[in-house]
Subunit: 328 residues, 4 copies
């Protein structure tokens, strides 16, 4: 299917996530290992449109495996949503003799990539990089494990103060559409309650649970709230609501915000990024295209990108039950 | 002046800070070393009023030096602001044969303690524990160094995203009245600008500086804002203002919040807490009272509590100049 | 099969690993949730023999999920290897009305547990807790993920010096029989070479590889060596050997040692420990015995303990290939 | 004295220490601020001899303040100990129009620098960068605070295992001639005993102390040993000696090694490095030379380099007393 791949492009797109540099490094080194040229495009699709690129060899990526963020930078590109934009990008790739692309990012990145690939017959492989872990076809996305550790470390700190002052803390974590981060960090940090987009248990249940735990002798509590929770109240309103209804609680709010995206990647994310990206390059060299690489049951697999984009990776609802048991 | 000290009480009050447990441990162990009884009061002045206490021996404080928060908990007490409240506390101490108190906290704690001490002729020594570093008579307060590291580590993470996306981040840090945290973390994290309560350089200067740095080729920037900054705008309004006036910036806000109070204390804070608290007990055993211990030029000193409370520890304004030079 | 379980014992045995406390906590809280008594035995089998136990309720385990080590302590017990020792333990359990045990530990723990269980007809369930990850029937053991992060963080620090001084560092990591830690941290830390017990590639290959990487422009390198590597040389002899044969390298050695066992558990290990231990208790309450719980493909499963002990969890040798590609 | 300084060179020498990059950055940015050229020399004196240099502007040092190690690398140079070597270095500087040098390093660096400066009439200013904190004329050297935190964090981890297994750990830390690291981390990590080069209390005292603490109910202990301790036994021999004499102890050894030099600098070290280096450049621009900058009582001061080199910064022996009290 098409000509032999001699030069591979790589870019990162969407929100940055820890381990993206480990992924870039693995793409570059695997190209070097197979004597294939490698070109990095800056700022995702926008850099492809603008032709902002850099030639990358094995030494270009030294001492990057441990860095957060992405050395190729990331951006959202409205221009790439137009046919003209994508045509410019394709022309740039052709002119630079780039035969195929590795796209590191989330589902928005892959969706744009698929349209582009089909319009211009340029092979792509997707590498799932996002802290949200909401992508089908892989147990874990790059950056998710690091984000979990960052959140749990932050809540551990907040718990020091919560315990010292007998306070209730509402901690908002990332996750507009998916509760992966909230659910796992809630269990990992020993939260009393966890509010996620996928399951609205209602405000009454929250009050009940907090009152019960107070009676059970707990003097401080943490509630982890996903950005996209469906209670109809934001995290500040939630705290107010609880203060009004359970006046014995001195409720406070912390919004963890952007610290969740950055930081040195965990070992898990570095190894995951490395394994996925080696495979991505090998698939391209093997003539494959339109696939996403993923980790399933500890093995690296690949699946059709269109299939991956059909649904969302869903949370394991049994974790809600685990959380309830553990907050006894 | 008065009878020999045979039993010493210890409590923590005000906002908790990392290293308070190292201070408690040092009070307890020093008492044990000098064969003096030690009693811990829970929740600061309120626990003294309620008579909520625990007898502490050398083993009671094992494996606590590395814990954030305070095992004696902390609270604010309105009742202690009344004569009746303080009289109850004094009666409890007398009944428990507690001859003197070590108070670990900030200036509010010391002010209350001085009134109490004079009314009831109970010797006290203050140990400065607060992340704000705003106390006269010591170069450093317990918890301040840890808080600086927590903030800088958080901003390092935010910078990963800022650099990856060419963004401007406003990061709010603690410090209602004092700019110590903002100033030092601003320099430590390489911030473009630092806004502190002590010095209002005006919004025009902020815009000028950001515009200049953009022209100088900087693509991302961090502005560290103290809670108590005097621009007249909160951190969200500041970000809006900059977006309106410098539309090329994609400005975001992160409020670090309560993660700044918690966490494992740094070595510096553990050693500081240990040295100050050993001295506090030794001073009481030596018949001294009404003093605060502090670290001056790396030595442990003591000063009159009333003197310490007369003014505020002021920032070194030369650091603003350093910051300006380094954000060139 | 046998009487209803009304009181469950829990213990930790073998080398401690981060997350053991999260496992204990989950056992205790799950018992509380199902209104079942819970008893902790100190120091593993030895505490069962000595009858050193503590009654545990939901509040006993507060603020422990984030602690390294094990609050129930661990020990090796020669006495438990004798029939008399095990008989004493069984008598103690019977006297205390403990109907079943949850054993948290590695394969040595499970082997001893199985003998005991069959001799005295006491149901047990095993929860895999060891940093070595060498247990069949689970993708991950509790503590392994944290140990990977600890090692990678340490090597990141060593790399700072290696890069600054153009040095070659040999870093010895734990793993007497299994190369899981070496292999994954080697990839995660970007090591040049990885020496593991499972695969002896020979010293010539090591010299070749180091010489090639020097010629390719690398000025510093890390070699990760598993304790149990099969080169026939220990890590210090390896460094000497390389210095003699490749005199341009200034080779140094660091043995990471016991820091690998400790530390706050990662979020992954906390969630893993929680999920496994909830299931362990539920299985016992459900009348099951002689099983080990494990995580397979992100789900909690259980397998027969005798089956689990038949073989060893084997490394994925494809990771050696990945490592070779990435050190290009 | 001599011509106006228009181009300043900067280098790092001796063992690397965290914060050296913050120092380089501050030298570079301060030069830029004062419209002065800045040239970096690689690998310390050896790079000056070889003329291995790089022109540095404000953007060259972006995103370096948080990195361990030194981007200019470091090395020891035998050639610089010869007149010929120094003459070559001087010739290179003259040819490159470098008028003055900022030397970042320890006393060996400053000693070599002073000989060079006097022979060739090239102004130098020393910036104290070493984890050992053994330099006169400053309360703190760059990297020392970070090293303390690294060591304490490592011992915290070891303590998890020590407590879980009732073990005695001997932990060797850096410090061949000075006990600063051992003394402060020993207090910060709650060690039972601390062995330093400056004070040999004898092996009997060690045994006495360990036996006493065992009787007092301690079940695990940490002994921190400085590399240069004067017991006449290395850390492994010490452990053997204790095992023979106190057989109830299961004594283990960990040598922390090179992890102590690396890692992200603490906020303290970043601010210290920044303040010292701004001053170093300002002194050169002001016509000063032969000085070392230092922090005394929280202020930046300077002293004569020859004076600084006359003695060693000595430990505060009162800390030994504090340690004894706290290990009660």
């Amino acid at each position: 299917m098409g000509k032999k791949v001699r030069r591979i492009g790589v870019m990162t797109s969407g929100g940055d996530s820890p381990g993206m540099n480990a992924a870039i490094r693995a793409v570059v080194r695997t190209c070097a290992y197979y004597h294939t040229d490698c070109v990095g495009y800056y700022r995702g699709f926008q850099g492809m449109i603008n032709g902002e690129s850099v030639s990358l060899n094995a030494r270009s990526v030294r001492n990057t495996i441990n860095l957060g963020g992405t050395i190729l930078q990331s951006a959202r590109s409205k221009e790439f949503m137009t046919e003209e934009g994508r045509a410019k990008a394709a022309a740039n790739l052709r002119e630079a003799d780039v035969d195929a692309m590795v796209l590191i990012g989330g589902d928005g990145t892959f969706r744009g990539g698929q349209v582009f690939s089909k319009e211009h017959n340029i092979p792509i492989i997707g590498v799932p990089g996002t802290i949200d872990n909401d992508i089908n076809g892989t147990n874990f996305t790059i950056g998710y494990d690091t984000a979990l550790n960052t959140v749990v470390e932050a809540i551990d700190k907040i718990r020091d103060t919560a315990s010292s002052h007998n306070r209730l803390f509402f901690v908002e974590v990332m996750g507009r559409d998916a509760g992966f981060i909230a659910l796992n960090t809630g269990i990992g940090a020993g939260a009393e309650e966890i509010l996620i987009p996928e399951e609205n248990l209602g405000l009454d249940r929250l009050l009940d649970s907090l009152e019960r735990s107070r009676r059970a002798g707990k003097t401080s509590s943490i509630v982890v709230v996903s950005e996209g929770d469906k209670t109809g109240k934001n995290v500040f309103q939630l705290a107010e609501y609880v203060k009004e209804n359970l006046p014995f609680y001195d409720a406070r709010v912390t919004v963890l915000g952007h610290i969740q995206r950055g930081g040195r990647p965990s070992c898990f994310d570095r190894v995951l990024a490395s394994r996925l990206s080696v495979r991505a390059v090998e698939l391209l060299l093997d003539g494959k295209r339109g696939l996403m690489v993923g980790m399933i049951n500890n093995d690296i697999e690949s699946c059709n990108l269109d299939e991956a984009l059909k649904g969302k990776h869903t949370i394991n609802k049994d974790l809600l039950r685990i959380s309830e048991i553990l907050s006894t």
